[in-house]
Amino acid sequence: MKPNSDDDLCAVFAHARRCDHEDAPAWRPELLDAPRQRPRTVLRWVPVALLTACVVVLAVFISDGPGHEPRLSEALPPLFDSPPGELFASLEPPLLAFEAPSDILLTSRLSTKIP
């Protein structure tokens, strides 16, 4: 990748490299034995918050359990408690008594009288 015509630049950089190496701080292997980073404070409270939320949900579920639920028969309105009667008694006018204006044309109404 580097053609030979770059020897001038290589020499300059090599010299700078030697100077920097002389100034480099000593290798300290103890830096690599640093303790692992402790989890952040926010993350430490996550399990506590989750546990609290579970306790609250459980408490609500237990206090509102099936023991307090009304029975189905009590909850329904008393539809079938009224006394039995005619099915369409309340309809006005009565369906059978209805007379249309054209009823006069029916054969039962017509009486032809021959003089």
Binding site: M1, K2, D6, D8, L9, C10, V12, F13, A14, H15, A16, R17, C19, D20, H21, D23, A24, P25, W27, P29, L31, L32, D33, A34, P35, R36, Q37
Partner: protein, 173 residues
Amino acid sequence: MERAIADQLEALHPDAFGWALHCCAGDHARAEDVLQNAYLKLAQQRAQHDGRSSFKTWWFGVIRFTAHEEFRRLRYRESLLGRLLQLAGPEHDPRPSPARQLELDERAAELRRCLAQLPARQAEVLHLVFYQDLTLNEAADVMRVSIGSVRQHYERGKARLRTLLQPDSPHEA
């Protein structure tokens, strides 16, 4: 920490410091901080080599990222909000002390001055190729850019650096 990784890190330590120094624009104190923070990331398993690239290119990528984090932190401290929030602390001068400046080799210092005048990507690729002896592909891995982009930065950077290194070339302050 595995023994094999520790051995690799020890072998790469001087070059890693040179790379950190480049990422920190020649500031020794910051380079030491950056390298130490990168080692801490490894020790705390916040950075782990997944084997997709060579250990050296991966490790240099970690150092580069850590240096950028440090740079952003420094920028924040220097911002107005940072000044308001921060308690009065000792000011940090990124330039080397006059005594240190005298100690620095003139040619090495000249190279650093010239590299500082190049665009950051060009300076990075030149450092990785000529100083760290990486290939262009490896440099692209470290810099997280495409090989085509690296090649372009490499060619332009070389031409510009040669011009700047000539004795009669003007230097920006």
